[in-house]
Amino acid sequence: MQSLWQGGLATLLVPGAVAGAWRAVAATPADAPTRTLTSPQARLIALLADAILPRSDTPSATDVGVIGWIDAVATDYFSSVQRSDFLDCIGAIDEHAVSIGGGRLESLPAGVVAGVVTSLDSACRRKNLSPAERGYALLKELVVFGYFTSEPVQKNVLQVPIVPGRFDPSVPIPTPVAK
């Protein structure tokens, strides 16, 4: 019964319009044309997204289509004011890179990029953020959310059961084995 739910019936319950909307987003690969983000903006976001969630034995942010999702949010979700503010803040991240690293983010060597990201990441829990820090904080939220709600991560990494079939209040967590 459980496999029927997970494998078939649950999918059948997705309304057509909703499924269509997902296909439109999911069909956007990392390097696909974007509707709002310019190519430099998309490259900047991709660089930061994969710095936050890089490829390891699990996919990176761009591997699972986070850029397409952020472009969809920027295009169809944000109001014009929110969109303009978001893009301005993304631009400010590059200006921040110039001021502390001596060049636009994508032109910098990996070690310097890491320094820029570290400076933004350590600042973003303060109040009174600069535009670059605000842009990074929102981008990090979008990257984390977009990554962990993506189909590949939900299904293959987190292995979230759509229909658990039971509630167990106390499951032991295995102690990690040191590699």
């Binding site: 739910w5 759509i162 039971r166 499951v171």
Partner: protein, 563 residues
């Protein structure tokens, strides 16, 4: 062939009480018409509890900007997100007003099943502590019934809908006829014991009593723990009109269900002092139709029923039908809720839960049970639960890179325990629903004007919710206890009630002890409008029990030819 516009009974509304009225009346042989203002729901097509975030464009992220334009009020409700917003009205087509300095959040669903599709499913019996409260402290009128009058009907409802819960033997929160309880987490069980010990047994934490099946019941399957009940349930494992009472009514062959039927007014025969039927505006064509019935049950939701009565004017009742007492629309209430505290639990980091339990914990009312609190009357219950944070903590957590990602995948945040109050609101004559004649809905029907304010008793109680919640978290051994005063506006709890209260005398209220209008004996109002006080428990099971009891009474009178 019978007249298609003539019925034995008309029920206005198909939600939690309309479904019960339909079931009880049809099962007693009455040809019953149920009028629903909204459209039909097909669970296979419309329920979305298994839709995953990656199946909707914005993955239910953010502040709901894209649909705030048409649902500026509804989108404040936790359940009105990108996936579930179809179950909430378009605010532009369904306007209401409130004083500028007294905001009211009215969360509504117009479709077959009403808000029984999205409700919170928590069900708690009242006790005589509640039914005697108005008489005891003088706020509001004395209820015309006591616990003994409604107890058999609570059982009647529980046996049909299925309620999971644990008996605790508390006088202020009577036990019901329970299915097996859902289990508490280790952290919750630990907190229960520590709190019980710290407060001398006065504060009892139990698992939530929920209209969700923990085993197969009455042809419905047990819960499969997918989580978001507010988006529907294809197995009907939680109680709804659509999955339980309406099918039972349909099985009698006596039910006619008419969606898209907005009842604009009740028709009243002054000479006979009887309601003769209803005038309906078809929501799709805009055409008027009339239906007649020997009895009419108003189950449209509390303030919609009050609005309908206020809009049903006649020479006999120029201020609204059944309003000879002048109380119609007054003593409106909601629960004030949400203030409390949250803290971090320790000692359970090697454990996690599997499955998404659609239920939490409940701490039964402890204020003004054994002794009188100096600052306020009545009391509150506490709802909450213990859980661990998942990957969502990563949005504001320090760090980036491969280790950061791996920690979000394989590690869990700390166990946190949240405890928040749900408080009784005193009935007050100036908390009321009137008609805003200058504002009309899509069908041209004058809108409601809702004016409800939290007053001194509610404010004092809210402060105590925060203090007592923090005390209990401290007793449970929590660290990092954060106090939370939320100041939610009236309406936010979605427990609006009152406005056509039951009373012992015609001069005191709109309805008698059987929810029967004093001024029109064949009119019954059995949704939340009938409530003379709010208690602090989630109210739906009391509405259901009162509805079943009123139906039994109505049919008894009809058989005696007294109606």
């Amino acid at each position: 062939m019978s007249n298609p516009h003539e019925f034995d009974a008309i029920v206005v509304g198909s939600g939690i009480t309309g479904g019960w009225a339909a079931k009880e009346l049809t099962e007693r042989g009455l040809r019953t018409l149920v009028l629903e203002a909204g459209g039909p729901i097909d669970p296979a097509r419309d329920y979305v509890e298994h839709v995953q975030p990656y199946q909707v464009p914005f993955r239910a992220w953010g502040d709901r900007t894209p649909f705030r334009g048409t649902q500026p009020i509804q989108s404040d409700c936790y359940a009105c997100d990108e996936i579930g917003r179809k179950f909430f009205v378009n605010d532009l087509e369904n306007p209401y007003s409130h004083p500028e300095d007294a905001p009211f959040s009215w969360f509504r669903g117009r479709h077959v099943g009403g808000r029984s599709n999205t409700w919170g499913r928590q069900v708690y019996r009242w006790s005589d502590l509640d039914f005697e409260a108005n008489a005891r402290d003088g706020h509001g009128n004395d209820w015309p019934i006591r616990y003994a009058d409604i107890a058999p009907w609570y059982s009647h409802v529980e046996r049909f809908i299925g309620v999971s819960g644990a008996p605790e033997g508390l006088s202020q929160l009577p036990d019901g006829e329970f299915l097996p309880p859902m289990p508490m987490t280790d952290a919750e069980r630990f907190a229960r014991e520590r709190i019980h010990k710290a407060f001398g047994g006065e504060r009892v934490m139990t698992i939530g009593r929920a209209a969700i099946l923990t085993k197969d019941h009455n042809g419905r399957a047990a819960c499969h723990y997918c989580g978001p009940c507010e988006r529907g349930c294809i197995t009907h494992s939680y109680f709804s009109s659509l999955g339980s009472t309406l099918p039972a009514a349909a099985a009698t062959g006596k039910l006619t269900l008419r969606p898209h039927s907005v009842v604009a007014e009740l028709l009243f025969d002054t000479a006979r002092s009887r309601v003769t039927g209803v005038r309906v505006v078809d929501a799709t064509s805009g055409r008027d139709t009339e239906y007649t019935g020997r009895v009419v049950f108003l189950c449209a939701s509390a303030f919609e029923s009050v609005r309908l009565l206020l809009n049903s004017k006649s020479s006999r009742f120029p201020e609204g039908l059944a309003n000879s007492s002048g109380t119609l629309g007054r003593y409106a209430m909601d629960h004030h809720f949400g203030s409390g505290a949250v803290g971090t639990m320790h000692g359970f980091d090697d454990r996690k839960a599997f499955g998404r339990r659609p239920n939490g914990i409940y701490i039964a009312r402890f204020r003004n049970v054994r002794s009188q609190h100096p600052a306020f009357l009545r009391g509150y219950g506490i709802q909450g639960g213990a859980s661990r944070k998942d990957w969502r903590r990563g949005a504001t957590m320090a760090g980036y890179g491969a280790e950061f990602k791996q920690s979000l995948i394989s590690e869990h945040g700390p166990w946190t325990l949240g405890t928040h109050g749900w408080g009784e609101t005193l009935p007050h004559a100036d908390n009321r629903v009137t008609i805003d004649a200058s504002t009309k809905d899509k069908s041209g029907i004058p809108a409601a004007h809702i004016s409800i304010r939290w007053r001194e008793n509610e404010k004092a109680m809210e402060q105590d919710m925060v203090t007592s919640a923090a005390e209990m978290l401290d007793a449970a051994g929590c660290s990092d206890i954060t106090l939370q005063s939320v100041h939610n506006p009236p309406g936010y709890c979605i427990h609006e009630m009152g406005g056509a209260r039951m009373s012992r005398a015609p001069s005191e209220g709109v309805l008698n002890a059987y929810n029967q209008a004093w001024d029109a004996p064949n009119l019954f109002v059995t949704d939340g409008a009938c409530m003379a006080s709010s208690a602090c428990q989630n109210p739906s099971i009391t509405y259901m029990a009162l509805t079943a009891r009123a139906c039994d009474h109505a049919v008894t009178l009809m058989r005696r030819a007294e109606l």
